[in-house]
């Protein structure tokens, strides 16, 4: 199987309003893919469906050939767009927590990354700033040897220096067996990291392709193409 994630005719309604409409997608293995679209286009809904946090209204989504469940959660590493760890926990507790539940978690890698960021493990999460909490989340999520990484707006609320750190972390932890799906609307910052892109609008994926192909064939950057396609 060449794709890690597939969805067919995927529909998700919120209170009768469609957040995703007839989405058909196939994500290849071993690529860094940008899920790009304006606010409210359905990026987060799609990622949550893949992570098993939402149930589809209709249609099918599969990860490595399986419906979202225990088996898929074991191979998916998910970073939500919000801080989601228990505030009472210390960083060390969180490392133990990840090591307890994820067999693919690399404790040493997490400790190394935290050390590089000068984040001590004896501090409780509630003592950390929002930016530091986000870095801790990213470190833990990226310290897994998962088959599929789902990163929802990883650079959304951070300063440019932190953005560089996050993107470096993503690239340095990438391996040919993993697929990384990054959702964002900050195309310019992320474009150099991507192999492929998916444009999503009003819950529908209407363009998917290789970043290099767009550069070569159209002579445009993804940022330029995005601005063109999503012009208000």
């Amino acid at each position: 199987m060449d794709s890690i994630l597939e969805c067919q005719s995927l529909i998700k309604h919120y209170n009768g309003f469609p957040a995703l409409f007839n989405l058909n997608l196939s994500l290849p293995k071993g690529k860094i893919i940008g899920l790009l679209g304006p606010n409210g286009s359905g990026k987060t809904t799609f990622i949550k469906l893949a992570a098993g946090l939402l149930t589809p209204s209709s249609g099918v989504i599969t990860i490595d050939g399986k419906l979202p469940g225990v088996e898929t959660k074991a191979i998916v590493s998910y970073l939500p767009e919000r801080t989601y760890f228990s505030q009472w926990m210390k960083v060390a507790d969180l490392i133990d927590f990840f090591a307890d539940f994820y067999s693919d978690f690399d404790r040493n890698k997490a400790l190394e990354m935290l050390q590089r960021l000068d984040i001590t493990t004896d501090r409780a999460l509630k003592q950390l700033s929002k930016g530091t909490k986000e870095k801790v989340q990213l470190v833990l999520v990226m310290s897994r040897k998962a088959k599929l990484f789902l990163l929802d707006e990883p650079i959304g609320g951070v300063d440019p220096a932190a953005r560089d750190y996050i993107l470096d972390t993503i690239i340095s932890n990438y391996n040919e067996y993993s697929t990384i799906l990054i959702s964002t609307h900050l195309i310019y910052d992320i474009e150099k990291t991507l192999d492929e892109f998916i444009f999503i609008k009003s819950g529908e994926a209407f363009m998917q392709g290789s970043v290099d192909a767009v550069r070569e064939e159209k002579g445009k950057t993804i940022d330029q193409l995005f601005r063109e396609v999503f012009r208000c």
Binding site: N15, L53, L54, P80
Partner: protein, 288 residues
Amino acid sequence: MLKKLLKYEFKSVAKLLVPILLGIIGLALINAILLSISKHYIFSDNVAMPTIYAIIALISSFVMLISIFVLYASIFILIILILQRYYTNFFKDEGYLTFTLPVEIKDHFNAKIISGLAWMFMGGITISIAVFIVALFASAPDGYIINTHIFDYIYIYFLRPIIEGVSTTDLIIYIVEIIVAIFIVALGQLLLYYLAVTIGCIISKKHKVLASIGVYFGINTGMGILTSILLIIITTIFAISENGYDDSLYANNFLQIYMLALIIMYSIAAIVAYINCRSMLTKKLNLE
């Protein structure tokens, strides 16, 4: 996985509940000490007792009043903390971590039940110990610090009226029935709380807590009506069938049958709540 989940469940709730439970015991001890000292004043006919004893007696009464309030409040806080853990861990931001763990929904839910029940019982035991400590000191005769005959009193006033005229076999059945009833009612009640929170959080997008409270009042009213109907039925049956009955035998039989009916009723409620909660968490969970 259940063991691992339980480890974090207990750790999380213990941070808040252990200080509260220790506080209850601490307050009981303070009460006991103040009662021991002020007893010299209370039991004395000597109006010329030092003012300090009068002040301590006053403080003692004040602390006793606060303790009664704290005791009631702590039962409420205990339930709220158990439910808060369920709510935040499943339906708030923490749910994003909880439900992306490679763990079956049934394990998540079972962990919440086991931990919730364990904390309910620990709370019950702590409150019983606190009441016992105060009773131990408060009932001591003048000149004694504690009442060394407290177990005799418990036997005479509480146990003897129940076990008098009951055979050993019946007594064992009676005790087992009480233990089972306490366990089943606690379990049923906890599951009904969880059911109310689950329904409230799934049906309402914005006012989850309010919706949960509303659902709970609905469920509680239903259970209240069922319990009353049960009581009326049993009383009527007894009134028809028992003529010229022995008082203690009547009371014992009535209690036994009432407990049995409660066990059956709460077992059904627990099963219904369990199946519904699990099904909703599996099929209807939407962390929007």
